[in-house]
Amino acid sequence: MGQSNEGQGQSRAGTVTASEQVGRYVCCIAPAGGEANLGAIGIEGHEVYTVVHNGLCAVVHDCPAEPYQSDDVEVTTAWVLAHHGVVDAAWRRWGTVLPLTFNTIIAATEKSAEENLAAWLEAEYESLKGRLDALAGKAEYGVQVTWDPAIVARKIAETSPEIKKLEAEIGSQPRGLAYMYRQKLERSLRKETEAKGAEEFKDLYSRISRCVDNIHVEKPKEIEGERQMLMNLSCLVSKERCPGLEAELNKVSEMEGYSTRLVGPLPPYSFC
């Protein structure tokens, strides 16, 4: 986020100390909205309010002029959840938001944090406005496709002539030879299943990308049991295109051995 992570300014040099709430923690930017108070939903229960400047609306709360840091996972988890909660609330309220990174803090320098925030909104106006416009009316969806390679491999074994031939040969051989040929068969089957997976990935990717506005390929997650995650996508989708995406995913779920999961709508974290 470019210049969003402001330094700690001169908070220690001047008369103010870190314990005073001299910083402004910026959760997200919304398009022109009025002055509003979102309640005590910020990190550590700070009051969340908006700072309106030049047609942009920063959703902020007061904070110490230094980053939130802790070695305690429970503490940091609570902070990140609070950050997400604010972004989510703003997103429900204004429909479009530009979420900022955790720990985006505007500190006071010789000027107050409020003035620095206004200056930052001023300087970054074009970039922020452009990105907000690009996100207008759109939400992020997580799309996950899983498959059962065993089911797919069984189907390949039923149709592949090479594998059928190997299977026929194995039956009549002594046990050492049969074992080796069985290994060979499993190897070819595995190769064909992998090739099928790569092919399916391309096919599904192009089908899904036709239904969405933007797409990021994420790392597939490990899942318990025999199933594997074939693809894990973050998709940016406009409201009117959402039913199309759902319909496409339903078609995929109908294929034997495949299932899909659609998570969302979420604020557009992966596209801001």
Partner: protein
């Protein structure tokens, strides 16, 4: 003597045995892959393939027997899953530099 580090002897035995057997399994799989490749390459006679196959089968059976008798199937699996995920991460980073860069930026 100062304070003695408290190690459960049974846990330690299971852990070390699990690691050893996991390594033996990996070596066995490498051997098997080489054997299949040579068979496919046509450099082995039929009696040789038969002997190789029998030897590998015996090795399979011996490893399974050890795992069962020592009750270490779980710890072998844990070692192998751990290794798999390390390799996965390294490969993923090499194959998808763009995502890696993006994730690094998100963390900042």
């Amino acid at each position: 003597m100062g304070k003695v580090v408290d190690i459960d002897e049974k846990d330690l035995k299971n852990g070390v045995l699990g690691l050893v057997v996991a390594l033996v399994e990996i070596i066995k799989e490498a051997l098997r892959l080489q054997a299949v490749r040579r068979m496919e390459g046509g450099s082995l006679t039929e009696p040789e393939i038969e002997r190789l196959g029998e030897a590998l089968m015996d090795l399979d059976a011996a490893i399974e027997k050890i795992k069962m008798e020592m009750g270490i199937a779980e710890s072998v699996k844990a070692v192998r899953d751990g290794l798999d995920s390390v390799v996965d991460d390294v490969l993923d980073t090499m194959l998808n530099p763009e995502r890696w860069v993006r994730q690094a930026q998100e963390v900042r």
